[in-house]
């Protein structure tokens, strides 16, 4: 594997792209193929399954050179295929099958989510080395540092402003362009920023905010506009507390497209009969919007707001790329990273726990909403 990657790294960049895409497609296709034929009946499928069980360990030996791993992979594969084949209408066999299929997902959840959560929570009460119990010291440190409190406050500002504004903008845009000519193209325009990574978006906006002295050539779009209108250039990313707002603009710019697309689809799902009935009742546009469309898309609104809230709680890339958390713009995720890189694992974990606690209510609310909707249906 590392041999392949090394070989790939030596190729010119343009040649790397198709190879990576082809390799990825091949792996996915192979997986889908085996997933598809794994539970089927018939001699042909049995032969393919057998070949699968033999070939994969052989490939493992060839590529990774480890017999131990090959044996483990063979055992897992054989076991899974056996379980899959162990068909039964009901009864014990069914239970075995159920447990067999749930186990991997549960195992992954355990390894990837539950254990780290427990570990992090424990680490938040330990010293930097993780060897000594220090009680609430890390949290006391966190809530006695003006800069640390600032990061928590900033995070709250992010989570209040970004979901509200992006959802509002996305909803307004979706309503305005609904059934207009060229709707598709208007949608593409706003949705495009979604395709840009946060780091990419941050670099674009850093150029927009770039500052040069009044009589120098402006390289920042915003300051150029200010100069054209006769103003003096502003250091957008430097002046507290406004710089946090200028960073927030970036996330709103990215997330509005998401809100718009989801809400636009939801609006199209509102039954025409309801709107027509409201129209016949003599309502105006605004009344139809607040009394028919908004209640009609309520579930989508909840999903959009909660998703964007979680995204803005976790915001890291934008702050890291644009100001590195300087000038009072730091947020929890950035501070968590900074403490971790400084080997302050306890303090880092304390930040993580705070973030977890802040995310929790939103997740619970979202889960309850989804459950409620299921009950209605």
């Amino acid at each position: 594997m590392s041999g392949f990657l090394n070989w790939l790294g030596g190729l010119p960049p343009l040649a790397q792209i198709p190879i990576v895409v082809i390799a990825f497609a091949a792996v996915v296709a192979l997986l889908l193929f085996f997933v598809d034929i794994a539970p089927r009946k018939g001699t042909l499928y049995t032969v393919i399954r057998l070949a699968f069980c033999v070939l994969v360990p052989v490939i493992v030996v060839l590529f990774f050179g480890s017999f131990l791993w090959a044996a483990a992979v063979a055992a897992v594969l054989g076991g899974v295929l056996f379980l899959l084949d162990y068909r039964s209408k009901k009864g014990v066999g069914y239970l075995v099958q159920l447990v067999g299929f749930l186990a991997p997902a549960f195992l992954l959840l355990l390894i990837g989510l539950i254990l780290p959560t427990i570990n992090t929570t424990i680490a938040a009460f330990m010293s930097a080395s993780g060897k000594n119990f220090v009680g609430l010291n890390n949290f006391i440190w966190l809530f006695t540092q003006p800069s640390a409190i600032r990061t928590v406050v900033n995070t709250i500002i992010w989570v209040l402003l970004v979901p509200a504004l992006s959802t509002a903008f996305g909803l307004a845009y979706a309503v305005f362009i609904d059934k207009s000519r060229g709707e598709k193209y208007f949608k593409i325009l706003v949705f495009m920023p979604m395709a840009i990574s946060f780091v990419g978006a941050s670099i674009i906006w850093r150029f927009i905010y770039a500052y040069r002295e009044a009589d120098a050539t402006q390289i920042g779009l915003l300051n150029q506009i200010v100069v054209w209108f006769g103003g003096t250039p502003v250091q957008w990313l430097q002046n507290e507390p406004w710089n946090t707002l200028f960073l927030i603009v970036v996330l709103i710019w990215v997330q509005t497209g998401f809100a718009m697309v989801v809400l636009s689809a939801a609006i199209k799902g509102v039954p025409t009969e309801q709107i027509e009935a409201a129209e016949l009742d003599g309502t105006n546009g605004w009344q139809r919007f607040t009394n028919v469309i908004v209640p009609g898309i309520r579930s989508s609104l909840v999903v959009v707001v909660t998703t964007i809230s979680i995204a803005s709680l976790k915001v890291f890339d934008i702050v890291r790329t644009m100001t590195a958390g300087n000038n009072g713009t730091s947020v929890i995720a950035n501070e968590m990273y900074t403490q971790f890189k400084n080997f302050e694992n306890g303090r880092s974990a304390a930040f993580a726990v705070i973030l977890f606690i802040l995310v929790l209510p939103i997740v619970i609310y979202n889960a309850r909403q989804i459950k409620k909707q299921r009950e209605i249906r």
Binding site: V27, A38, S66, A128, N132, E213, N327
Partner: protein, 437 residues
């Protein structure tokens, strides 16, 4: 019905299959970076970038040919944050060029680094002074040899302009302030330019100011205690250095020539100052000896009778020669045969000569032939390093633990320039000192 159920079984299997692939892929990845197998390739990670990185690669090209080892160098301006993350994440390079002994100590104390191999230990004993060897030593164990060196705290100026304004190179700190005032009055513009911008590492050029002033105002003993946190940042002695630096850096009449007001120091990249200095837009600038490379790139000749030249930041009393400096230490995360060979080579006089010959840098290696230094400023830097009267101290922020030296100290300087109260800034910096183990 049974068909539907069998189709449902597809998803968990897919999850398991993907997990299997992921697990095997992981094992392949970590296996290759371990100490056991030697693939004749050594990865090196450091902060040295662009032209400097090319020269670095050139300096070991012959060695690669002779030994058959491929050296892959990767540079990042975010090295200081990335190296800790990579080490803790199990994906470290074979060798890392640490610009900060403090960071090396952080990693060595947590057992991420391998102690220096015999060959390196022998080279360090032979070619480096005790002081320099100490920077690569953590708890009495040597972890690596120094690589290059630079003299910090030089003040760059244009000799011809000085003659025009009728001012001379100042010999004391007060004279420096007087010269600044004279230039300001004669030109009506800010004499000093400064740039603290450096991405993730923003603020570091500011720490050099503070270190120079602490060393000159309080002497080497307080300086050493300060590095060891026996003298706290909140101590009046350290505040005095901030206040003195503030007389220049926070005075809107003295900074920031051709860039804007005081806060523009933060939004100016440290390298962007070079063209301003070369064009004469600013009269004075405080930066280490490596800056000559930036000035030459900007089209200036660096010589006593050239466009730009430098003097060492003057002491409080006349005739004091205290100077701060920096350098890199090469630490190893791997102990396979190739890595050991490369680490040994980098600690040898052979490499030092090979690199210094290419120009732009110096080394504190005793085996270095001074004739190989490429420019007058580098010869002067070697003279300063070799002069027995010089009180030399390594850059304090580089010696402190990363959390302070490459963390709150940098950030504190940025906040300080932004106008935060000095007392609060000092408190914030001190609070970054690592917690108990």
């Amino acid at each position: 019905m049974s068909f539907i159920r069998t189709r449902r079984t597809a998803l968990p299997l897919a999850v398991l299959a993907v997990a299997g692939v992921a697990l095997t892929a992981c094992s392949g990845g970590s296996g290759s970076s371990g100490g056991g197998d030697d693939d004749k390739t050594v990865t090196i990670y450091g902060t040295i970038a662009d032209t400097e990185a090319e020269l670095l690669e050139q300096s070991w090209a012959d060695f690669e040919k002779e030994s058959g080892i491929t050296i892959k160098y990767e540079s990042s301006k975010e090295f200081e944050s990335q190296i800790g993350i990579r080490a803790q994440g199990g994906n470290p390079p074979d060798l890392a060029i640490f610009p900060q002994p403090g960071l090396l100590a952080d990693l060595a104390k947590r057992d991420y680094l391998k102690p220096a191999p015999e060959g390196v230990t022998a080279n360090v004993e032979k070619y480096w002074s005790k002081d320099w060897a100490r920077y690569g030593t953590v708890n009495d164990t040597l972890y690596g040899a120094p690589l290059m060196a630079s003299v910090k705290g030089l003040i760059w100026y244009q000799p011809s302009k000085f003659a025009e304004w009728g001012v001379e190179v100042p010999k004391t700190w007060d004279e420096l302030l007087a010269v600044t005032k004279t230039i300001q009055e004669k030109t009506g513009a800010a004499p000093w330019c400064a740039g603290f911008g450096s991405g993730d590492a923003s603020g570091w050029p500011g720490t050099d100011w503070i270190e120079d002033l602490v060393l000159r105002q309080q002497g080497p003993d307080v300086y050493d205690d300060w590095v060891a946190n026996k003298v706290k940042f909140t101590d009046p002695k350290i505040k005095e250095a901030f206040d003195s630096a503030g007389e220049i850096l926070k005075n809107p009449e003295y900074v920031n020539a051709s860039f804007g007001d005081v806060t523009s120091i933060n939004s100016t990249e440290f390298g962007d100052v070079a063209p301003a200095l070369a064009s004469g837009a600013c009269a004075l600038h405080h930066q280490a000896s490596f800056f000559s490379g930036f000035l030459e790139d900007a089209g200036a000749t660096v010589a006593p009778d050239g466009d730009v030249w430098a003097f060492v930041t003057p002491g409080i009393e006349e005739g004091e020669t205290a100077v701060t400096g920096g350098g890199e230490i090469v630490g190893a995360f791997s102990d396979d045969e190739s890595t050991v060979k490369v680490q040994e080579y980098l600690s040898s006089a052979e490499w030092a000569n090979s690199r210094v010959k290419l120009g732009g840098v110096i080394s504190a290696n005793n085996g270095l032939d001074p004739a190989n230094a490429s420019t007058p400023i580098l010869s002067q830097a070697i003279e300063i390093l070799q002069d027995e009267k010089t009180t030399f101290r390594f850059d304090a922020s580089d010696l402190m633990p990363g959390a302070v030296g490459a963390g709150t100290f940098w950030k504190g300087l940025v906040n300080w320039i932004n106008g935060d109260e000095t007392d609060q800034v000092l408190k914030d910096i001190e609070a970054g000192w690592p917690s108990a183990e």
